[in-house]
């Protein structure tokens, strides 16, 4: 009788040396892909507080001013004309574009004035339109002058852009209403 030799099996082993690399990659993947909720919103700088006694009235020529008024019923006035909110951007884009190339003291000032009872959401919509108008003009300016998008501009070009199209939004104080 022939003696059958039992086949020698190799020790079953899973290669674990690369497991740590795999878990490291996993860790890195999660680290990179996690987004911790980013704050987004409409940025603004409030005017400096000056006591009433020290306030001076600076005359502002009419063609510099774009006065946006929103009353408590949600009616919007732009320089005295009734307008709907989605039209504000288009209207302002024209006005801002006209001011490109003019000296610093002639740039457009957008004044937003509201009533104490105006809805906050409406105010944000209006402000959004104003900001949108500025962004649109800046984008076209960057494209025509430098052939780039705004975010691709270098520092010198960004400064030029900021000088040419400064965002001047004045938040007027609502008139005191007797309670």
């Amino acid at each position: 009788m022939v003696k059958l030799k039992k086949k020698q099996r190799p020790n079953p082993e899973i290669p674990t040396s690369s497991m740590s690399d795999i878990s490291f990659l996993l860790l890195l993947f999660f680290l990179v892909s996690t987004v911790i909720d980013v704050d987004t919103g409409i940025g603004l700088t409030l005017p400096e507080y000056i006591p009433i006694e020290q306030q001076e009235v600076v005359p502002l020529s009419k063609d510099r001013l774009a006065a946006l008024l929103i009353n408590e019923n949600g009616d919007v006035l732009l320089n005295g004309d009734i307008i709907s909110i989605p039209q504000v951007q288009k209207n302002l884009v024209e006005k801002i574009t006209k001011k490109i190339g003019q000296p610093k003291t002639k740039k457009l000032v957008v004044s937003v004035k509201v009533d104490r009872k105006t809805n906050y959401n409406l105010y944000i919509q209006a402000l959004d339109q104003v900001k949108g108008a500025y962004f649109e003009v800046r984008e076209t300016y960057a494209k025509t002058k430098y052939g780039k998008k705004v975010i691709e501009l270098d520092e010198r070009e960004t400064n030029d852009l900021r000088d040419e199209i400064p965002i001047i939004i004045s938040i007027a104080e609502p008139e005191q209403v007797k309670k």
Partner: protein, 137 residues
């Protein structure tokens, strides 16, 4: 005379099978110890939506101010009165000169309360603000 070379007879391999466990424990440790400075929001609010929005680049500079549906004001982690906003923000601004105030205001609020808060912020000289909004679809 021939000397036998002295050699360790144990294998020189480092046991790597438990390495993954160690790294997992490391991962877990960091996951557990990391706190994402959470603030309990004590007011109810829903944000308005807008398109022309920007990100706040530096989170370290941000102070949060909520105005809820019931016109209660929360500053960072506590409910405050309108009169207190000025002092708290002034102290904040002294310790952190370029503080940004992120205003999270309920969209159905009236501008009255918003204006009041803004006036307080102006007096406290914390003038960089950001109206927190969601991205409109």
């Amino acid at each position: 005379m021939k000397f036998a070379k002295k050699r360790a007879n144990s294998s020189a391999a480092i046991p790597t099978s438990s390495m993954s466990d160690i790294i997992f424990i490391l991962l877990l440790f960091f996951m557990v110890t990391t706190t994402l400075r959470e603030v309990d929001v004590l007011v109810q609010y829903s944000l308005p939506e807008a398109k022309a929005i920007e990100k706040i680049e530096n989170k370290r500079l941000v102070s949060y101010l909520w105005i809820g549906r019931d016109e209660r004001i929360q500053l960072n982690d506590a409910i405050v009165k309108l009169e207190e906003v000025q002092d708290i923000m002034y102290n904040k601004r002294v310790s952190l000169p370029n503080v940004i105030v992120s205003l999270r205001i309920d969209k159905n609020s009236s501008m009255g309360i918003v204006t009041d808060v803004q006036q307080k912020l102006r007096r406290a000289d914390a003038r960089r603000i950001n109206y927190s909004t969601l991205l409109a679809p």
